[in-house]
Symmetry: C2
DNA sequence: CTGAAAGCGCTTACAG
DNA sequence: CTGAAAGCGCTTACAG
């Protein structure tokens, strides 16, 4: 171009110590004039063999991740780790078509590492991602041999929530769940469906309920399971409305997420049922909105940001190669739970 | 490797019609056995000259984008467009160091197009991004000649909010703003600082207030401006607490965001001031939480998801090359506003 | 301190 | 239907 070789230009941009600062200035200046803004990122990545980017893959719609406050917190944690590592975060859109187009995005992602979030244990995406042979961390599930994992203590979370209710004297408790299996349905859930739960954390919660029941010497039948069609207030409201009508309505509802609980709160208000006087409600996650609603939600705090951050650090190779990180949870008692009503007539 | 050339393997993966399906099967099978998952994304991108990825750059901390509900909605909209286009979304972390390291990330991003969000008019990042000479769309600001732009009608938003209050009889109104300029400060804002506002939408809002005042034949001095140190409930609460003490306390507060308004709501509750009886409050954005709090927030709805979606479509080249998209806003009257108190003694 | 050479892993006309 | 060749834009030892 103007006297120097390509290598020297490369050095001017990447290794200032490899050439005189005078020459470097000349090169940079000439580049500026020519409208050259620096090495092409793609070519550099190919040459270096590293991208400076990590990928997050979600089986949900990409946009769903943003409409679920809990997922947003996880994203925030991952993003924070990326910031610290000056690494880009690529959101990989996985469309769930039958013909495998969903795995295409995985193979097409130019990243150094993957985080998988909100993925069912047996989703083919897991295998596809692992086949890429780049560092991969699982969030919540699946829990695989030799694959880094970050999650909460879901079992304790469920146990704490139910124990709280049992200690309050509740003996008719409904569990409002979301997605026991990848196929969505809604309505009451049979014993078999419970056992078939396709998500590790779902099964862990089931165990937690059992723990709580055992500790009180109570029977499994005390619990009614109900599956919400969606993990948002609307789904929670519709499900709670269904649960609340009829004779043997529960005196307490345990939900899989605060989003569901917020919906249940609305449904109760709409039905003229007072929370917590007539009905106790326990959420899960402790998203910011949990304390904003009235009454403020009793919930189990799961450190979502920390979860994302831990996953991010593993991705960036910044965390010691710990295979499993299980974050502790904590019961947060606020205003949506109270002792079970002494007796209940009709509604 | 096993008889065929590289080109044929490439065709097996990319152009099934270029070879017999029998040969293709043999190649795919051999690849599987060899653990070859398909063309390297980076090499393909270099060769093709296209990434299949768009980048979103934010001057805020990457993680901030996730803690602001309004920003999350914008992200959701962009993500939705990416999904539709089966395009990856790269979050570009821009650290705000002095030595230009912030622009490095821009030049290092392997993307086909950029969206800039939450960027001050004179941020050097704008120039850096534009220098990349790839399609770039600005969200909210800056509004530049020849550069695609998507934003709300911020001027009308401000006008609607203030007019609502004025019509209710309020004559001592405080505006709780966030970041009139890139440098953060907090406290009462002088006339000069108002004029210096570094953000296009901030200036637009100022004009909107003027419009409302004019329509009522009222003077600019009716307004007090106060800048919050952060765009979250905590900042809103602290600022509102400061505004609310003293003699000439406002009968109404107008905020730059629902986040700020939610904080103000808390501050009022803490101070024993009833909303809306003693104090009217209007938010901005209409985030989901706006309707969850008690009292539900009167606010101006800005279609954030639509804004992100529109920006995303432009990025992907799916939208007609419209240079400017200005989305309409709408006043949503809920429960946080009421007629000004007839008279007010001391607090 | 500077440059020639090899290599990163693909794709795309094009000739056969 | 298949393969040889050129090219995508860089980086990295290495020799001078």
């Amino acid at each position: 171009m103007l006297g120097v070789s390509r290598a020297t230009v490369s050095n001017a941009f990447n290794r200032p110590d490899q050439l005189s600062s005078e020459l470097r200035q000349r090169i940079l200046e000439a580049a500026r004039v020519a409208g050259y803004v620096g090495p092409d990122p793609t070519a550099r990545a190919l040459s270096r063999g590293t991208q400076g980017t990590v990928g997050l893959v979600l089986t949900e719609q990409l946009s769903y991740a943003f409409s679920d406050p809990a997922a947003v917190l996880v994203l925030e944690g991952i993003a924070r780790a990326c910031e610290e590592g000056e690494t880009g975060l690529l959101l990989v859109p996985v469309t769930t078509t039958k013909d495998g187009s969903q795995t295409r995005a995985i193979n097409a992602a130019a990243v150094d590492a993957f985080a998988l979030y909100s993925v069912s244990d047996d989703d083919p995406i897991v295998e596809t991602a692992l086949a890429r042979s780049i560092p991969t961390v699982m969030i919540d599930q699946p829990m695989l041999e030799g694959v880094p994992y970050v999650g909460h203590d879901h079992r304790s979370a469920a146990r704490l929530a139910l124990e709280h209710l049992l200690a309050l004297g509740h003996r008719r408790v409904a569990v409002l769940a979301y997605r026991l299996t990848p196929e969505r349905h809604s309505g009451e859930v049979t014993r078999q469906q419970q056992l078939d739960a396709g998500y590790h954390h779902t099964r862990a919660r089931l165990q937690g309920y059992r723990d709580a029941l055992r500790a009180h010497g109570l029977d499994w039948d005390l619990l009614t399971f109900f599956e919400s069609p969606s993990n948002d207030p609307a789904g929670g409201a519709a499900s709670a409305a269904a649960l609340l009508q009829g004779q043997g309505a529960p005196t307490a509802i345990l939900t899989d997420s605060d989003q569901l609980a917020i919906g249940a709160l609305q449904a109760a208000a709409d039905a003229g049922i007072s929370v917590p006087d007539d009905l106790s409600l326990v959420g899960m996650d402790d998203i910011p909105a949990a304390r904003m609603v009235t009454p403020a939600l009793t919930t189990v705090r799961q450190p979502m940001i920390e979860k994302g951050h831990a996953a991010g650090r593993i991705l960036l190779g910044k965390s010691p190669r710990k295979k499993r990180v299980v974050l502790p949870v904590e019961l947060i008692v606020r205003e949506s739970t109270a002792p079970a009503p002494a007796e209940r007539r009709t509604r």
